[in-house]
């Protein structure tokens, strides 16, 4: 009997080690937390608002959203189904205890937190900072540090946590928050409006070209906790900013909910480039655990000649369900969406974009590359809507799917609405497979199976990878390779 038990122990230990090999961000940090009482209620919302020392208008914004939320039904039209989430069984606020009296400088920051970010490859300390990239680090529900703050302040750029912005830049937040994603928008967006905890805030003043990449690194650490972050980026007239977010989470058997809202606003002649490298824990090989990534991202090209471009590399999460969108309101505005979505093992994704053309001469471009492996399932769902007033508008869409093995799925559903005869929509789609012959050819040239897959897939994704800021393109390329490891036998 004993021997058997030991064997079993060995097995599970072995499995743990193997898992760790696959997802190197799967560790958790043992740190003391302050949590809101479990569940969702007016009290919990008041608790969050109070602990963040928010002004009254902010609390009212939250409560209004909560009232609305109570009337909403969870949507069910998406392809990947998931077991019912008990919203009363989640923690809506969790923060490291050491953050209660917010440290004034990095020297005061809990060494455990510094260590965590170092392990993630995001050094926060002065001497080791990433060159030319300002980072806002969000740990569970709070922002723990923002680098390069002084340098940015000199140019009038505001880059800080949302909590800080609500206190210090209340007027700006009040003016723009919820203008792109209204509190009444839909189930998860509304939930976010009620309980969001932290995230990043960016304001680029008129005529300023932000001199460095701004980046937020989201980390879920605590268990049974949802992460509801809120990001708001405003590019004033004639300004430019490139922003990047990265995400990871520990490996846990439970599914964790991540429901963020991201709002972008570009005024006249402004440009926002928003890149995401999403690598939340995808669950284990049997589909146990992993993050539910149900995110609402929307950009408003409010002014004329403005431009918003989304680039996403989605390799993590058990379920990814999101449609980063552009509302092209200003005349001559441009929306772009470049996406690589990879699903392996039991991962599922229902992702794409929405391009809403309202202004004249508006242009949008969608390049989507979906890769499915293992027993995963991938759906591209996209909407191109050209309104009757959007004369001379154009959209080009290209959706390519790559299948690996014969147990996975790939689907493409484009919704196309053109109410303007002077406007024009093009859609192209392909589906292909990595062939054994291609792999053999690469093997014969000295590449092992994983190198071969990585090379072929990176070729398939090239158009999108080229859109990423240089500093991250190399990382993303590696990630593309890693997330498909073991997918070809």
């Amino acid at each position: 009997m004993t021997t058997k038990k030991q064997e079993f122990k060995m097995d599970s230990r072995q499995k743990e080690i193997e898992n760790l090999k696959d997802y190197k961000y799967g560790f958790s940090t043992d740190i003391e937390n302050i949590r809101a009482p479990k569940g969702l209620s007016e009290e919990v919302i008041k608790f969050i608002s109070k602990i963040k020392k928010e002004p009254e208008w902010m609390l009212n914004f939250r409560l209004k959203a909560f009232e609305r939320f109570k009337q909403l039904k969870e949507p069910n039209w998406q392809k990947p189904k998931y077991p019912k989430i008990d919203y009363q069984d989640l923690y809506y606020y969790s923060a490291p205890k050491s953050m209660k009296d917010k440290p004034k400088s990095l020297d005061e920051l809990d060494p455990k937190l510094l260590e965590t970010y170092k392990k993630l490859g995001i050094p926060l300390q002065e001497q080791a900072r990433l060159n030319g990239i300002a980072v806002d680090a969000v740990f569970d529900s709070v922002s723990v540090a923002t680098t390069f703050k002084e340098e940015l302040t000199k140019q009038g750029i505001i880059f800080c946590s949302m909590s800080e912005a609500i206190q210090k830049h209340s007027e700006l937040v009040k003016k723009y928050l919820g203008t792109v994603i209204p509190t009444t928008d839909h189930f998860f967006a509304t939930l976010n409006s009620a309980v969001f905890t932290d995230g990043s805030f960016v304001y680029i003043p008129e005529g300023v070209k932000c001199p460095m990449e701004l980046s937020t690194y989201f980390r879920i650490n605590a268990s049974e906790t949802g992460q509801f972050e809120r990001t708001l980026i405003i590019a004033d007239k004639g300004s430019y900013v490139s922003y990047l977010e990265g995400c990871t989470a520990p490996m846990r058997d439970e599914n964790q909910l991540h429901a963020a809202n991201v709002e972008l606003i570009a005024l006249d002649d402004a440009e926002i480039k928003y890149s995401t490298v999403q690598n939340w824990y995808p669950g284990d090989k049997d589909g146990k655990g992993g993050i539910y990534n149900f995110v609402t991202k929307r950009g408003l090209c409010k002014g004329k000649n403005s431009k918003i471009s989304w680039t996403q590399v989605e390799t993590g999460s058990a379920i990814t369900w999101k449609y980063p969108s552009c509302i092209l309101k200003g005349d001559n505005s441009v929306g772009e969406f470049y996406s690589i979505a990879i699903t392996n093992n039991h991962q599922k994704a229902d992702t794409g974009t929405k391009m809403i053309h309202l202004g004249k001469n508006t242009k949008s471009k969608i390049i989507s590359k979906g890769i499915s492996a293992g027993q995963s399932d991938m759906m591209y769902r996209g909407l191109v809507d050209i309104s009757s007033k959007a004369d001379n508008s154009r959209n080009f869409t290209q959706c390519d799917s790559l299948l690996m093995g014969n147990k996975c799925g790939a689907h493409t559903i484009p919704y196309i609405k053109n109410k303007n005869l002077k406007s024009n929509i093009e859609h192209e789609a392909t589906t292909s497979k990595i062939s054994d012959e291609q792999l053999y050819y690469c093997n014969q040239r000295g590449l092992n199976q994983e190198e071969a897959v990585s090379l072929i897939v990176n070729g398939f994704c090239k158009e999108v990878l080229q859109q990423l800021p240089m500093e991250f393109a190399v990382e993303a390329q590696k990630l593309v390779g890693i997330s498909l490891e073991g997918s070809v036998g």
């Binding site: 291609q438 040239r445 090379l455 398939f460």
Partner: protein, 244 residues
């Protein structure tokens, strides 16, 4: 360098090679001729390590049991196959592919990998030696290449990887006379006392340009006759059907 003993191979229960023997010494050029379906491509696939065959017999390459090695390990040891139908890999620049390939091999051998500058220098030198247009290297691997361009690209890869044993699987098929000459010159320039070649072909034509040391007739899964260049000429005259 290479010794094949009593090699038998089956695919989907069908026996294709039925006891093949062959010895290749360093510096030798061997040609294998034979009719369609005689097992020529199967032989090159088995030597390079393509999966899906049931293989029996012995193959020693530089003293090592070749059949125990993975496809890429064979490439690391210096076996190169110029494909009859080179594969297209969309989005992958030919240069990138070549660099990934040579560095994978160098890494496996514990040698220093080439940086971008060293690599470009090598590419430039090799393509001018072989009189190849370098523009081809900036295009996606084999995508939209003509038949001739694909084959030239194989020869360029061969010259860059500098293999010990090069297997050319019907490299002459689909080539016009000019391309045939360029490809042959490429092969000839790589000939030296250490490198060996196994050239698989239907026609004597290619052998007019690349003079083999030995010619073998493969028929019905076995080498039924071996000789020198004269054998190729004789085969061309009487045809495979009548040759016994």
């Amino acid at each position: 360098m290479l010794s094949i003993e009593n090699l038998k191979a089956k695919i989907d229960e069908k026996e294709i090679l039925k006891g093949l023997n062959l010895n290749i010494k360093p510096g030798e050029v061997h040609a294998i001729m034979g009719p369609n379906g005689s097992g020529k491509s199967t032989l090159s696939n088995i030597l390079s390590g393509k999966k899906g065959y049931e293989v029996n017999g012995n193959i020693k390459f530089e003293g090592e049991n070749l059949l125990e090695l993975e496809t890429e390990e064979r490439a690391h040891k210096g076996i190169f196959l110029a494909f009859q139908y080179p594969l297209e890999i969309p989005g992958v620049n030919t240069n990138t592919f070549l660099k990934t390939s040579i560095n994978a091999i160098k890494k496996a051998r514990g040698e220093k990998e080439l940086d971008a500058i060293e690599f470009l220098k090598l590419i430039k030198q090799k393509s001018s030696e072989l009189k190849f247009d370098q523009a081809i290297l900036n295009r996606q691997l084999n995508v939209g290449f003509s038949g001739g361009e694909k084959k030239k690209n194989e020869i360029l890869q061969m010259s860059i990887l500098d293999p010990k044993l090069s297997i050319l699987d019907e490299t002459d098929s689909g080539l016009d006379i000019d391309a045939l000459r360029i490809v042959s010159e490429g092969v000839n320039s790589l000939r030296n006392k250490n490198n060996s070649f196994l050239i698989i072909t239907h026609y004597q034509r290619l052998l007019d340009y690349i003079k083999p040391d030995f010619v073998h007739l493969l028929k019905n899964g076995q080498i039924i006759k071996s000789g020198n260049f004269e054998l190729a000429k004789e085969l061309e005259k009487v045809g495979y059907e009548n040759f016994n």
